[in-house]
């Protein structure tokens, strides 16, 4: 690994891979750092190694990753799998951990393609073993062919829930129920966005096909569910929910939940890039222009880490970011960059027709985002409850950072990744203010915990 590259790409998902392929076609020095052992990101995880059978059951959208990864493998980028990035700063220096050794490298341009993570939404019992995120179920399936053995309950809202259910019935998993918490009012509220979504009707058709296959397979989907609770003494035993005013219980040792996805912003936060609250996507995301340039010169973002637009869009945004990097490096003139981006931009626009509809149809209700159950744990690491957060707000603390300082919420090993959003919602709700005013936790390096031994390797190399 060199100490300096013209372009450094962080993340091996669709955005990072596409950017690397475009940028290296102009002969620059480029490295791609990937936490995973192989390219593809979470969306195309294990795409090179998954047996054909498994890839088929995961569906055509998954298999699309094959070409993308194959093209990347052919390009000249230096690929560093199993590499963690633990810091990024405005001087365009990156702290990495590779082979258990830390190192600082620098670049002229840095593309952060950090992707998305599941939106963590606290509800009673969500810390019990047996409760997992739907994305976790998908990762187990993609990377290891691991599927539920004794049935599963799926709960929440969003396209991934439907997709996962469909993938599971393809291999005979017993889905005990799908508990859909999408409020009926969303159907009406999203109607005005439907005409534009019809321009990307293949997504809608696909959703309908999944739904039909699930019905044919005899899977029971309950729409308009609320008050989901995971119950059990110290392990999950059952799921309780309300449906049309009545309480129901299903026995299960596995509950997979999904409440949409949010950008993974810990690196851009640590670097000090400006972020904003996106009320339509219900998340924080880095501010950026149409090329992905952030508020810090030389740091570009692309893909779901820049704002949620899905895998195909991420690929296009990655290409644009690659072209932008080439322009910033003085390799392309503005005219050349613009010319090469015309088609990409058009494809990306086509992809995005569906987004406003999806965002509004699958918007998670405030009552779920800001739980009013005071006993529910919000910070999984420090075990801080919603009640403690509301108490801190009552005592005059109206920003997430103040609440963090007062309660230790967000100070555990995950560094707030699992509670930042929920805390913002609860602070806003309790204080009667807009979520955008609650401020996001300040990010500080290292963004992943490092051991003293790992840090020691850094000072040795520097000496």
């Amino acid at each position: 690994m060199n100490n300096h590259y013209q372009l450094l790409i962080i993340g091996g998902g669709p955005a990072g891979l596409a950017a690397a392929t475009v940028a290296t076609s102009h002969g620059i020095s480029c490295a791609l750092l990937d936490e995973q052992p192989a390219p593809g990101g979470q969306i195309y995880r294990s795409i090179e190694s998954a047996p054909e059978q498994r890839a088929k059951k995961l569906g055509s959208e998954y298999q699309h990753g094959q070409d993308l990864v194959a093209e990347f493998r052919k390009c000249d980028a230096d690929y560093f799998p199993r590499t963690q990035v633990w810091s990024l700063n405005a001087q365009l220096e990156v702290g990495i951990l590779h082979d258990d050794k830390s190192k600082i490298i620098s670049a002229d341009q840095i593309l952060v393609a950090s992707g998305a993570m599941e939106r963590p939404v606290p509800f009673p019992g969500w810390t019990l073993p047996g409760v997992m995120q739907a994305g976790a179920g998908q990762i187990l399936f993609k990377s290891a062919g691991v599927i539920p053995s004794d049935g599963v309950v799926l709960a929440g809202s969003g396209p991934l829930l439907l997709l996962l259910a469909w993938q599971y019935i393809n291999c005979g998993v017993d889905i005990k129920a799908i508990l859909d918490v999408t409020p009926f009012s969303n159907y009406l509220l999203s109607l005005p966005k439907l005409p534009r979504a019809l321009l990307a009707h293949h997504y809608l058709t696909k959703g309908l096909v999944y739904q039909k296959d699930l019905t044919l397979a005899g899977v029971s989907t309950k729409f308009g569910v609320s008050n989901i609770k995971a119950e059990g003494d110290d392990l999950l035993q059952s799921v309780r929910y309300r449906h049309f005013g009545r309480e129901h219980t299903i026995e299960t040792d596995l509950l997979l939940t999904h409440f949409g996805v949010i950008p993974h912003i810990w690196l851009t936060q640590a670097a000090g890039c400006e972020h904003q609250w996106d009320s339509s996507q219900q998340c924080w995301r880095p501010q950026h222009d149409q090329w992905g340039n952030t508020s810090i010169e030389g740091i570009i973002v692309a893909g779901d880490g820049a704002g949620i637009n899905g895998a195909r869009s991420a690929e296009h945004a990655g290409r644009l970011a690659g072209l932008q990097a080439l322009f910033a490096l003085g390799i392309l003139t503005p005219a050349e960059r613009d010319k090469q981006s015309v088609n990409v931009r058009k494809w990306m626009q086509d992809e995005r027709h569906i987004r406003p509809f999806l965002e509004s149809y699958f918007a998670i209700p405030q009552t779920i985002l800001a739980t009013d159950d005071n006993d529910t744990i919000v910070c999984r690491c420090e075990e801080i409850t919603a009640g403690q957060i509301r108490e801190a707000v009552k005592n005059g603390h109206h920003s997430s950072n103040d609440v963090k300082f007062m309660t230790r919420c967000g100070m555990g090993p995950c560094q707030g990744r699992q509670c930042a959003n929920a805390v913002a919602h609860i602070v806003a709700d309790a204080g009667g203010q807009a979520v955008s005013l609650t401020s996001h936790y300040r990010g500080r390096p290292p963004v992943t915990p490092l051991t003293l031994e790992q840090l020691a390797t850094l000072s040795k190399e520097d000496a």
Binding site: E35, P37, Q42, S46, S49, P51, R54, M117, E118, P120, T127, L128, P129, G130, V131, M132, Q133, G135, A136, G137, I139, L140, S143, A144, G145, V146, I147, P148, S149, D150, C171, D234, L235, D253, L254, H264, R380, C381, E382, E383, G412, P413, C414, R417, Q418, P449, L450, T451, L452, E453, Q454
Partner: protein
């Protein structure tokens, strides 16, 4: 809770999970292995001694911390099985967070 679809093309490695020898396909994460072995929880919390298991499987929740080859606080979902690896359910803090002095 979970099972692994059979894949005969893949070689297996032997790891030791809480003292028991286990054969696992190569390329499996420690977390996936623990779940398919029927381990219902992989650690207890330092704050209240509650049981926890992997939650996100993508390295962001830190709920899958286990003791691996004597080092506490390793993310089981971001660690891949290797021949002879010793994996243990972590009790509480383990050793101080990630100071790696568990040997």
């Amino acid at each position: 809770m979970f099972k692994q679809l059979t894949n005969n093309q893949i070689e297996t490695v032997e790891v030791i999970l809480n003292g028991q020898k286990v054969q696992v396909p190569q390329g499996t994460t420690v977390a996936a292995m623990a779940l398919t072995q029927g381990l219902r929880f992989t650690r207890t919390t330092p704050v209240s001694n509650s049981k926890r298991a992997p939650f996100c499987m993508m390295g962001v929740c830190y709920d899958c911390l286990m003791s691996i080859d004597g080092k506490a606080n390793q993310r089981a979902c971001a660690t891949y099985v290797q021949n002879g690896m010793k994996i243990e359910t972590q009790q509480g803090v383990g050793s101080a967070l990630g100071d790696g002095s568990g040997e």
